[in-house]
Amino acid sequence: MGRKLLLEKVQVEGIRHYDVYRREGGYRSVEKALKLQPDEVVEEVKKSGLRGRGGAGFPTGMKWSFLAKPVGVPRYLVCNADESEPGTFKDRYLMEFIPHLLIEGMIVSSFALGSNTSYIYIRGEYDWIADILEVAIAEAKQNGFLGKNILGSGFDCEMYVQRGAGAYICGEETALLESLEGKRGNPRIKPPFPAVKGLWGCPTVVNNVETLAAVVPIINEGGEQYATIGIGKSTGTKLISACGNINKPGIYEIDMTISVEEFIYSDEYCGGIPNGKKLKACIPGGSSVPILPANLLLTTAKGEKRLMNYESLSDGGFASGSMMGSGGFIVLDEDQCIVRHTYTLARFYRHESCGQCSPCREGTGWMEKILLNIEKGKGKLSDIDLLWDIQRKIEGNTICPLGDAAAWPVAAAIRHFRDEFEWHVNNPEKCMTENFGLRHYADPIHVPA
């Protein structure tokens, strides 16, 4: 098993509370960082190669270095805890069981960025976790790690939790800021980027929960040391939330050198597919990233073993690869219906589209309706091409990436599983009682032309 940097202590009894967390070595990174210059902290994060863990994978240190620093204008750090990407439930685990790790990472990051007031924007449904975070923040404050003049350094920092109210779109950073300002979650047109004009028009950095937590081991061990873990540009460890048809769904911290095959079948991780069924397909990085059939999931088009990291998962582009995304790993067994699954995702995106851009507002609804028709055996063969046409007209034509996120799952399902869509159209009676499964695909599974 690889090294754990975030979840090493998660099983320690009482780790949710300050006393135990501190006794186990917590808050050392704050003590260390406050003796450095803020820019030196940024430098360590740059050296670590840490990439944003929310889904986009943008280098965190570089994002931090874009932050504008006009004199006399406050700067803000906002933690994106709006985890809503289907298949993703890792940040929840981290906040629920080891909340001080996030708070510690945020104090260090706030110091590095010069943010004296930092906010955690958490999805509204995680109501009880917001309470856990508020308790942890109060404990940190009582012990002098938040508030005025932290550890005598002269650095002041307050931290607050704000609950959203049920809107996937608020995971997009500018929609999140709008929401934090008490408005509808409509993404802003960029530029200006939040680093220049963010919360209340002030320079702002928005980072994912796991990203900010990772700052703790980076400061404790040094950025260079952190960068030695993992492979290539996939440094450090990554939390994967595994779900769907697997024996052991849950959260796994991996170093990004293991293969996808090991991750699915090893007892250390997912423990294989229940009831001895075969693997049909997998969405490796949250619902927005392309679904892959079993053969392309386990092996790249070049015939190499596919690994659980940014580069390998995206190897082959969208023609034969996918993305690391948020680490929401959804496994489908041989009996699952790709059309129905794609329909539920299309319904999700229609529900979550904010409605600002017409390609997304209208297109997501059309895709949902057409997919439902095909699913129920009421579709036409031309509907498959129509779906393809609609998704192409959404992708790249919207203010924010929700349009792309809605288009990609539909595109990938058609790209890799077109036979199954056609079978639904051609077998309207059968398709509601029988699953296409794997039977009609060539062994081991349909290989796209």
């Binding site: 993703t88 439930f89 509204g124 009880w128 408005k183 209340w200």
Partner: protein, 163 residues
Amino acid sequence: MIQFKETSLAKVKEIIARYPQGKQKSALLPVLHIAQVEFGGWLDVPVMDYVASLLQIEPIEVYEVASFYSMYNLKPVGKYVFEVCQTGPCMLNGSDDIIDYIKSKLNIGVGETTADGMFTLKTVECLGACGYAPMMQLGKNYREHLTKGKVDSIVEECRNKAN
């Protein structure tokens, strides 16, 4: 007249103090959560108007937010709201069957409330509990790994609590 309890008013004040001077509109989402809990599980227009006056913003600014976010109910709901997730990962683990079972058990459709005002059934999109599917939200907490038996005991539990 609509008015928060003293404790809620104190909480509202504390929330407003989290933001810079003049940015009290930022408190809108948290204050609407408090209002929904305090005023019967939904946001009637007079309640929203009251929130607007508290935060010194226009009523329309409250309406447009309340109608955007799915957690705010703009119509009355039952005492217990079952919000069952139906997105991909839950579907793979049988959420369709759970929804059908709740419908037949409570004899209501999605979006409806039982005649006694006890239960409302809502379907929701991904709540971030994919590894513990199928699941629903009930009040502040999640109920996970749902089975028909578990649904039975949750219904029982709610009825007992209400009595």
